[in-house]
């Protein structure tokens, strides 16, 4: 939970009380802390950056309107993200950009290229043909990931189907728990896991490509 709330914001009851009391500094802090992540997420559902900004704006307006009625059954951030996702989906429908969220059926193809494994005529069918490489040790805690790696990950995320992208963004980038993601997106735990796994596998594949190229040119 620490990571999800950013570690710097006060507990939810304090945040809610401050907002209800009209504390502008608190509202500004939330805006500045969460809006970038919200824009990023909104962008998976709508077709332009301007649209995404409007989605985020409408979300905050709904928060302003709804804060007195907030019942605290979820965390403040989960509540806000639910509003965000619903607003973004409606907007996406209007822009004809929406993938049917209710349908669970991602392609059933394997997440790792079949050619990485031995075939039926090989000695150990289904086992690795080429051993996955050992990647360089990740940068020490706090140190920034190589800019190039971040760009690769950004590109990989951009190519994901929207549902996978939303789930992996909430889970691995934003640091939500699986329960929170299920609540925000109204999906089952099993569905969440499938989407997350496919998305992670796709990002891993991009990184493998990156490390392989780096190794060859070294």
């Amino acid at each position: 939970m620490e990571s999800f709330t950013g570690g710097r914001l006060p507990p939810d009851d304090v945040v809610v009380a401050a907002l209800r009391a009209g504390d502008e500094a608190m509202f500004a802090t939330l805006l500045d802390t969460w809006s970038r992540g919200m824009l990023w997420l909104a962008r998976s559902h709508v077709s332009t950056n301007d649209s995404a900004e409007e989605v985020v704006q409408d979300t905050w307006l709904a928060v302003i309107k709804g804060i007195d009625g907030f019942e605290g059954r979820s965390s403040v951030k989960t509540w806000i993200y639910r509003i965000l996702v619903n607003t973004a989906r409606k907007r996406g429908v209007r822009e004809n950009r929406t993938v049917p969220w209710s349908s669970v059926f991602e392609q059933e193809r394997p997440t790792v290229d079949r050619s990485s494994f031995q075939g039926v005529d090989d000695p150990l069918p289904g086992h690795w043909k080429y051993l996955p490489a050992i990647w360089p040790t990740p940068a020490p805690e706090g140190e920034l990931l190589a800019a190039e790696v971040r760009v690769r990950i950004g590109a990989a995320l951009a190519e994901l189907p929207p549902r996978q992208r939303t789930v992996i963004t909430l889970r691995d980038v934003e640091g939500c728990t699986s329960e929170e993601v299920c609540e925000i997106l109204d999906i089952s735990a099993a569905n969440q896991r499938v989407l997350l796994h496919r998305a992670r596998a796709a990002v891993r594949e991009q990184l493998e490509d990156y490390f392989e190229t780096a190794r060859r040119s070294a």
Binding site: R8, I64, R114, H127, A133, I134, P138, V151, R200, V203
Partner: protein, 93 residues
């Protein structure tokens, strides 16, 4: 009990990391891992991937920018001002 092959194991990595495997599947997973360097490497690559994604988190004020990622600039000045004044006006509304 049937042993996993590597191509089966790779599909269970997230379920394994989420602690969602039932006990017997989990122990088969772990048994395979002990004897298979390839899957051990794969799992480690997967973990590195998840860690790397976490470094993209943009919510910390003053966090490093990620050029080219949507949302990187944050809200425009105009939108932010509009929202601040909507918040201010809410008590009188």
């Amino acid at each position: 009990m049937k042993r996993f092959s590597c191509d089966e194991l790779v599909e269970l990595v997230t379920a394994f990391l989420e602690n969602d495997l039932d006990e017997s599947t989990r122990s088969r997973f772990e048994e395979h891992l002990v004897g298979c360097e390839g899957c051990e490497h794969y799992l480690s690559q997967f973990r590195t991937t998840v860690d790397a994604l976490g470094t993209l988190r943009v919510e910390t004020p003053g966090a490093p920018r990620h050029e080219g990622l949507p949302g990187d600039e944050g809200l425009s000045r105009a939108t932010r001002d509009r929202l601040m004044s909507a918040f201010r006006d809410r008590r009188t509304a």
